[in-house]
Symmetry: C2
Subunit: 331 residues, 2 copies
């Protein structure tokens, strides 16, 4: 206990995905006061367990290893964690909410696991059942944050990444979503393929002429060429001396994003699309969507911290909002 004017930590929020660990310490106004990131993703941590029964132990050790000082300085602080840490191969299986799902109901389905003198509350994922199933785990807290950060709760939200999610929100409910493995395809193609051998470098964060050429090719030829044929144009243009080796990666990125966006817009009502991604991917999707005549609003990837804060409020783990102006879910 300190009589210093600093506000006490109210929540330890964790986004623990397959390949990355990110955690934030928030005060009782929901402001981030400290943060930590690590490459100790759930996949790497789970591989330290020799048997499934050891999994809880290795996850607890990894968590305390990253956040121990915060736990010591803030005994009893509530911990809320989302992402693949809640999969059956993570710390503990946190289950799923079936779509359509009200994002405010995530708070009612938390799974509690002990972590020394603390407990960790794991957020469930979302699941589409029926003939075309799909799953997400981690993106649901970003979506909860998008709801808190924006006023229009009926929209299409794109969460670019290794596995990009296209989500339909209707009045704060997720009514459906699909996934495209665009980021993973890009990684595979640039790591070891006919195209990687032509590419002098990876795509950078800026929107280049080569990226836009890739988008244009996907728009112009996408009816007659599937993605497998579109991608080969990177090779033929390079052989013809019309694509420099330094441009190949950006062009391939443009083909992949262009093909994804073109199809996704055919399945969705246009209007405004919210893009929630990293500084390197969000501008690419914004550019592709705006070329297709869609209005784009971007929300920072760190909206996960806000989403976890709101879920903690929904669950009563931290003080609820009293000011109606900041209520994010008018019914």
């Amino acid at each position: 206990m300190s009589d210093a004017p600093e506000r006490n930590a109210a929540l330890l929020a964790v986004d623990w995905g397959t390949t990355a660990f990110r955690a934030w310490l928030l005060d009782d106004s929901g402001a981030v006061t400290d943060r930590v990131t690590s490459a100790d993703g759930s996949l790497r941590v789970s591989e330290r367990a020799d048997s499934p029964s050891e999994r809880a132990e290795v996850f607890r050790d990894a968590f305390v290893g990253r956040c121990g000082p915060w736990l010591t300085a803030n005994p009893g602080v509530p911990v809320l964690a989302a992402g693949m840490v809640g999969s059956d191969h993570g710390w503990a299986g946190a289950g799923y909410l079936d779509v359509p799902a009200d994002l405010r109901e995530l708070a009612g389905r938390l799974t509690v696991v002990p972590a020394g003198e603390s407990v960790v509350h794991l957020v469930p994922g979302l699941r589409v059942t029926g003939p075309d199933p799909d799953v997400m785990r981690g993106e649901e807290v970003q979506l909860r944050g998008v709801l808190a950060a924006t006023t229009d709760h009926s929209a299409t939200v794109v969460l670019p990444g290794t596995h990009t999610k296209w989500v339909r929100l209707d009045g704060g409910c997720v009514t459906g979503f699909t996934t495209a493995m665009t980021g993973e395809l890009y990684g595979l193609l640039l790591r070891d393929s006919t195209l990687s051998r032509l590419a002098a470098r990876r795509a950078g964060p800026e929107i280049t002429t080569a990226f836009t050429r890739g988008l244009e090719a996907a728009e112009r030829q996408g009816d007659e060429r599937g993605l497998g044929a579109l991608l080969f144009t990177a090779r033929t243009l390079a052989l013809a001396g019309r694509l420099e080796s330094g441009e190949v990666a950006d062009y391939v990125s443009g083909l992949l994003v262009g093909d994804e966006v073109r199809h996704a817009l055919q399945g969705a009502s246009a209007g405004v699309v919210t893009v929630c991604g990293s500084p390197s991917t969000a501008p690419r999707y914004r550019h592709a969507l705006e070329r297709a005549g869609v209005s784009v609003r971007t929300v920072e990837e760190d909206v996960a911290a806000l989403g976890l804060w709101r879920i903690a409020q929904d669950a009563g783990l931290v003080p609820a909002v009293s000011d109606p102006r900041t209520e994010d879910h008018p019914r």
Copy 2:
């Protein structure tokens, strides 16, 4: 010289691609009397050269290593070779014919390289110029063989492989073609990806229910899902317990072939499509095309030997056809 009744070898024909070497010995009727295959593709051979100037030497050594006994037994036998051996990174650059190209003109553009006491004639590739360039090298001899093996010389020909070619033939001329890197994508995805970790085995040669499910998914969802989103359905179906680990590879193959065929048919006039591929790939394309209502005729991949024989005839390296019934190019 022998007075035995055996016919003399008239041609040593070689299809020397990136990853495979295939050669045939043909008698003066064009019949194959012996054959040899090896994994000593042009990529592997070229890597033995420490500098570009050594390349001719390592290719000559590799060729003599495979075909030395044939050369010794048949001194002076003409040698005709096609494939990546004729690329700038092969034995010698054999150039390209620009499309539209009459396949009978391949014979007028052979490149001669010495090989000890023999000479090897390299067949040029084909090239599409203009805004959407493309190249082939090796498939042109299969096409020459398709012309010899079939009577309809105006058709769409599919040559499935690592890089599948879709070729438009009109009166024995190649008027255009495109390439889809479907086979390479399949290899990348099944080697090390989210999907490979779900797959218990590679796709086999038979047409399975899982392959057909992949085709159906591409047909049904292809408008709203690009290939990157279609592919992710393999993961979500597996997670939902609706796709067995032993079925993942066949399902992924169905998605890839289905997406490719669906787009290719939008760019081509339907009618009859000729499929010229291996016993493991040709049935997949036949099945996908027939589901789309297209009549399919299949020609064996070994038609390359026939194609090389006809090019050798066109070039005057072997006796020309005298029987008008076997003329394959009625004008």
